[in-house]
């Protein structure tokens, strides 16, 4: 039994190290893109179209992961594209998190008409396919990084709201909330001091997961050609181009896909790991 707990804990710390390590690599790539990238991500060279990766026949030295249909360096584009992905992750997700968590806490704790209004709005939001909602919003407000971020916030706050509301409902019925009430703590003090710390692990895990989701939404919007301008590199845009020339140059699709896959996976696993870290009962 103790051994099982130990192996689980060991698996957990491995998860944190691996996912945190990969995200560190992506963050460094985004911050120091001009220093790291071997080529200008926008430089086209029609003589160097669809060069295969360096280890294959017909490769050109200096183009480690090959080139795309316009002769642009795939590696450099992946590195620069991480800037867009991380901007979306670190701006859209926290804002959606704050809005959704506050509404979820208020709805779950106060109940009554506050809960009714929030729950009805959540119902309406839940009736939309989220991807279609995002595409619709960006098509309406216009493409660009700001629109993508705004669309993610507008759509994904309900993820936080639903989870936080449900957790708050559970916590509200706990004896220690009654005890705090007897002692005369105000409702706001109880919400902040007693309820919020119990809901926090779930919020942290969801925030990390949401960062991955935000990266994916940006990629999906790029994939249907609705994110930022087509020239600026994004992982989704590269994947969309790769999808069309998949039979001639698979590497244009494969490498951004692997990077996207690992990043999303890392955000998800980091969230699970942090959730346990934040929970004193599991320590």
């Amino acid at each position: 039994m103790a051994e099982a707990v130990l192996t689980r804990r060991r698996r957990r710390s491995w998860r944190l190290i691996l996912s945190g390590g990969w995200l560190g690599v992506v963050v460094i790539a985004a911050l120091f893109a001009p220093l790291i990238a071997p080529h200008d991500p926008l430089a086209q060279d029609l003589l160097l179209q669809r060069l295969p990766p360096a280890w294959m026949a017909g490769a050109e030295p200096g183009y480690l992961l090959g080139t795309d249909g316009l002769g642009r360096d795939v590696l450099s584009r992946i590195i620069y594209a991480s800037q867009v992905a991380l901007t979306v992750a670190f701006v859209a997700a926290p804002i959606a998190c704050i809005i959704g968590s506050v509404l979820g806490l208020l709805a779950g704790y106060y109940g009554g008409w506050v809960d009714q209004i929030v729950s009805r709005i959540v119902d309406v939001w839940m009736a939309f396919p989220p991807v279609l909602f995002a595409i619709l919003l960006v098509a309406v407000i216009g493409t660009g990084l700001h629109s993508v971020i705004l669309a993610i916030i507008v759509i994904d706050w309900i993820r936080f709201c639903r989870v936080v509301r449900a957790e708050t409902l559970v916590q509200r019925r706990m004896d220690y909330v009654d005890s705090a009430h007897i002692v005369g703590l105000s409702r706001i003090a109880i919400l902040v001091k007693e309820v919020l710390p119990n809901v926090l692990p779930a919020i942290v895990a969801l925030l990390s997961l949401e960062m991955g989701i935000a990266v994916i939404v940006e990629a999906i919007l790029s994939f249907v050609n609705l994110s930022i301008s087509t020239d600026d590199p994004t992982w989704g845009g590269m994947i969309a181009e790769g999808r069309t020339i998949i039979h001639f140059a698979w590497w244009v699709l494969v490498f951004p896909l692997i990077v996207l896959f690992l990043t999303v996976l890392a955000f998800g696993q980091l969230g699970e790991g942090l959730k346990d870290r934040f929970d004193p009962v599991l320590q």
């Binding site: 595409i135 309406v140 997961l209 994939f223 249907v224 999808r243 896959f261």
Partner: protein, 336 residues
């Protein structure tokens, strides 16, 4: 008495939800700058022509006025005319719906089978590396969305080792003698198994991509539920009769654990259907989601409205059905 009132309240909130969806879609797409009529006419069309068509589609009126007219039509089953395809919206949308439904149901079936299989393996060989393996697979399947699974499948089983078709719903060269759009169902009914196979060849990868995240959720919940069930006395008793562990799990525990788990995963089914939008795009599958993206790109307002409302009705209907099923299954709720 109480349960009837609860059901009535639930249906009323459902209608409120649909009304909210209608308002939001209507307002959002009309706030968009630019005139969709101008976009569909050839360049150089006269101001007069544009004005005439705008009036024809009722786009010259105020937004509340347009909403009332549109809602009045919808209640009579008239969703208007598509601007880009110049056909009745309802006809187009209902023509595409069967493709999406068949894909979703196939994905749901795969998710249940896969989820149950994973949960069985983790329970049968609990506290061995097999369970740890299932946990890892679950963790990955949970945090990677269908969009990435779809692309990964195309790359592997579509291109690197071409086993399945990567685009379309059915081979265009095939002659389809069908009267409905439910190709998969009709091919089975008519015993045209060659067509069934061809359809499955196209559908299997998008369906698996949609199914993986849901399969992981089912596996996780079912595993927890099974582990609790096998400690119950009646399962212990079955074990004393000398049946094998696998048989005890499948025969005695699984039956009790599966249905409650599936009702718990109800909301996830709407996520799965929502996923068809992008998955259909990746696989060029001619369903509702693919149509929706085209409609947004073409600024075809009546068509967008029609599709979104149809999705909303589908989602809200599924959630309602699951809530009712849950109320029926849960005796505490029924008598409460």
């Amino acid at each position: 008495m109480t349960i009837l009132r609860a059901i009535a309240t639930r249906i009323a909130t459902t209608l409120v939800t649909l009304f909210g969806v209608a308002i939001i879609v209507f307002v959002v797409i009309r706030v968009a700058p630019g005139n969709p009529i101008a976009m569909m006419l050839p360049p150089g069309a006269s101001e007069e022509d544009i004005a005439r068509l705008t009036a024809l589609y009722g786009l010259d009126r105020s937004i509340p006025e347009q909403f009332v007219i549109w809602l009045g039509g919808v209640l009579q089953g008239d969703f208007g005319t598509s601007i880009s395809l110049r056909q009745n919206v309802l006809t187009i949308v209902l023509g595409r719906l069967p493709a999406t439904l068949e894909l979703s149901l196939l994905a749901l079936g795969i998710a249940i089978v896969l989820g149950a299989a994973l949960a069985f393996v983790a329970t049968r060989w609990r506290e061995t590396p097999a369970e740890a393996g299932v946990d890892v697979v679950n963790g990955i399947a949970l945090s990677v969305p269908d969009f990435l699974w779809g692309l990964a499948l195309i790359l592997t089983l579509g291109v690197a080792w071409p086993v399945f078709e990567i685009s379309g719903r059915v081979s265009p060269t095939l002659d389809l003698p069908f009267v409905t759009q439910f190709y998969l169902v009709e091919s089975l009914l008519r015993l045209r198994l060659d067509i069934t196979l061809n359809l499955l060849d196209h559908m299997i990868m998008p369906a698996v991509a949609l199914a993986l995240p849901l399969a992981a959720v089912i596996a996780q919940l079912l595993k927890a539920s099974l582990k609790e069930t096998i400690r119950q006395d009646y399962v212990m008793l079955a074990r004393t009769k000398g049946f094998s562990e696998s048989r005890v799990i499948l025969h005695d525990a699984m039956r009790n654990a599966l249905l409650p788990t599936l009702t718990l995963t109800g909301v996830q089914l709407t996520f799965l259907i929502g996923g068809t939008v992008i998955i259909e795009r990746i696989f060029s599958y001619e369903g509702l989601g693919n149509l929706a993206i085209d409609a947004v790109i073409n600024r075809d307002l009546p068509l967008i409205q029609g599709i979104v409302i149809l999705f909303a009705v589908l989602f809200v209907g599924i959630n309602l059905a699951i809530d009712l099923l849950y109320a029926i299954l849960n005796p505490r709720l029924r008598h409460g």
